[in-house]
Symmetry: C2
Subunit: 438 residues, 2 copies
């Protein structure tokens, strides 16, 4: 029986998950692939040894022991962060080893360097686990939907942020309350910035855009706004408009330029993405051939992520057995056809908007506000005026038709400067309903 030898760097939660998966699926994989996938080595600087169930695995605190073992075919990097993960991947590649990683921060910042090195060394880079946990979303883009020009990507890609928004929506809790509770329960990190400020979602969107469009999209190309400023009152107003607020990653492909944005979004309740609850992820693609396809599942966690890492290991193993390394290009387009993206500047964005404006309740206020919107070609679709605050102010809540982001920002600056305006206006973008959408 042929064997594929795997070296694993990082034996944290996900590392344990992949190790357990390779053990538990061993017999099944023999029946499916005709080979044995063997976890041969593990390196982790923070451990002294491995649990007893892995006593066949050679342990070391030094990753070099993996790189220097000629028997190792595939190196799995699960330490996260930029360094030393980047050096580890480049070293493994330079030694002719295939690499598998779940490191979205690294790939969305330094992907070009890593994929170029891998192409030159003719090794594969697997990264299914970097987006959507166990959901086979990378595979879908590279293979299942290969006969499509991808027209748009819309998704909930961070389980922590979605869990917090779900709790706020279901129970009316404030952001800080839910975050604290989530941290106590271990659903949110001690430093939740990456999750709640949309940075993690931006990493993932950059990776999906790179694959979908064949362009080197960098995380810095993505405009990002998090959920920490979302107030329960806006969730309540959203409900009155038949919407829920979700942290979405959105990219529309306008052929010669492409949107790249992550922000809280009002999603109509009838849309699938409004109905993704708790820590789950869902990613929707619109293809010119297939229409809308949505993939849903657990976006994080020991075993779901282990499932995706193992799928990559097996995919590479199958290519090794068949003598077909790089049968599918790592980035879905051949390296020589991957270009630089032209990102739509946020100022050029057009979408519908939600506004919550806090004003003194006196005659003529609405006329002042609506005249400013009119000046900026922002056409109002509906309005609610209510909610007396402690200072006897009122909320004027409006939804616009399609409007231009620059004009919106200018209008809000003018409105907030009005004497009658007593608090900063809250602006939330509204999901564009596609004609072919659900």
């Amino acid at each position: 029986m042929e064997k594929i030898h795997i070296g694993l760097i990082g034996f944290g939660t996900v590392g344990k998950g992949i190790a357990q998966t390779l053990l538990s699926q061993k017999e099944r994989l023999i029946k499916r692939c005709g080979v044995t996938f063997v976890l041969s080595r593990v390196a982790d600087i923070n451990l002294d040894s491995l649990p007893a169930e892995f006593d066949n695995v050679v342990f070391s605190q030094n990753a070099d022991d993996i790189f220097n073992d000629p028997q190792i075919d595939i190196v799995v990097e699960l330490i996260g962060g930029i360094e030393p993960a980047k050096s580890f991947l480049l070293t493994a590649i330079s030694k002719g080893k295939h690499v598998v990683t779940a490191n979205k921060a690294l790939l969305s910042n330094h992907g070009k360097e890593i994929f170029t090195a891998a192409a030159e060394a003719n090794v594969e880079v697997g990264f299914e686990a970097s987006v959507g946990g166990g959901i086979p979303v990378i595979k879908a883009l590279k293979e299942g939907l290969v006969a499509n020009m991808i027209l748009s990507i819309r998704g909930i890609m961070n389980g922590t942020a979605n869990y917090i928004l779900t709790q706020m929506t279901d129970h009316g809790y404030a952001f800080e309350e839910v975050l604290k509770d989530a941290q106590e329960k271990g659903f949110a990190e001690a430093d939740p910035t990456y999750d709640v400020e949309g940075i993690d979602t931006a990493h993932k969107l950059a990776i999906l855009m790179t694959l979908a469009y064949g362009k080197n999209v960098h995380v810095d190309d993505v405009a990002v706004e998090g959920i920490s400023k979302i107030h329960p009152i806006d969730i309540e107003f959203a409900r009155e408009f038949g919407c829920r607020i979700k942290l979405l990653a959105i990219s529309h492909n306008h052929d010669d330029h492409m949107e790249a944005r992550v922000h809280p979004t009002m999603v109509p309740e009838s849309h699938m993405l409004a109905n993704i609850h708790g820590p789950f992820n869902a990613i929707e693609f619109t293809g010119d051939t297939v229409g809308d396809v949505l993939l849903y599942g657990q976006g994080a966690g020991m075993m779901p992520t282990g499932s995706a890492v193992a799928a990559d290991v097996i995919d590479i193993g199958r290519n090794m057995i068949a003598g077909a390394v790089n049968r599918v290009s790592s980035l879905s387009y051949l390296p020589e056809h991957i270009g630089e993206p032209r990102i739509t500047p946020m100022g050029e964005l057009r979408c519908p908007y939600y506004f919550r404006i806090t004003v003194v309740d006196k005659p003529g206020v609405l006329a002042q506000i609506t005249s400013i919107f009119a000046k900026h070609q922002i056409s109002i679709k509906s309005m609610i005026q209510k909610g007396v605050t402690k200072d006897k102010d009122v909320f004027v809540v409006l939804r616009s038709h399609m409007a231009n982001e620059s004009e919106v920002q200018e209008a809000i600056t003018e409105i907030d400067a009005l004497e009658v305006c007593t608090d900063a206006t809250v602006t939330i973008r509204v999901l564009i309903q596609e004609q072919n959408g659900v």
Copy 2:
């Protein structure tokens, strides 16, 4: 530039879809795969010629012209039905050509013969389009979720049936009304039996089970019940219980035996499958590693199906280029490891049930009914008594806890034989909520 030559049998709606897809995606596929996918030949007995846009394609009314052309690498069969489709596929295979088909009836009835012939000839069989239209569900089972034992499959796999149920649910229409309307609009076939009686769904479930479990599951292994007997009143009662009625394919893997059933099912509104509307499909897998994963999209139609057929063609093309034919076994398990299934007899099924019993409104009736249920170990979870029919009868509507199908059938026979019972009892199975489910 290397070329992959494709011969297409059947130029109906889906045939046109794949032909158009290969044309429209040609440049993009060169950038992704480095080869040109060329539709070289089309055969269709019902046509005299092809539309002008396909004037580079050699047309014939005789499929032999495709089989006998040594240049053809991949034969796409899109005529449907058992014969001559089966003979065509076997002939193509015998000539050493790879085959791609969307023919679920054929594969779920004669899959074993076709896959055996293909394995012997060392050619590939692509059938992504046979289940879930453009949704890459076969790819997910064979590759993306490869590191999982699949514990269950639950899905909405027939767009026509789901469209009808959605219309009935949203507007309170009767089954016959909606069906007639759907036929007039072209959403339902003139003979809708396969769609509304669950047969098409059973074909698809048999294929997914074969892949998921590595067993030769035949369509006859699947217990089938359609939606033609669903009455708007049951949809109304379902709503009162917080459920919607959906035609689901369900298979739970009990390791030494497996459920295989298609029937109308009460689905709690909070479950994703309750929120799949209109002609869309959604298929949910539970894997022992990944947990729940759901894939959603258009389950039929010219272009979505074209997307799936093209994905298969490209997948095979990529293997040809890499010299890696049958890199992934067609049925996901190696042929020598595919066994015969042990299907759970329907009588052994355990699930919760919904009952609508029509009785004369007089004292003691409920006692008679509940004593029969008690005798059969059917424990009642909740009850509604209401709805006076034209004959002054009442409906006794009950939901049970988990109960045994044989006991349920016996109980219903006894209840329907009661003198006070004035119409046949309606029984609908209720979806089991998984612990790890949504």
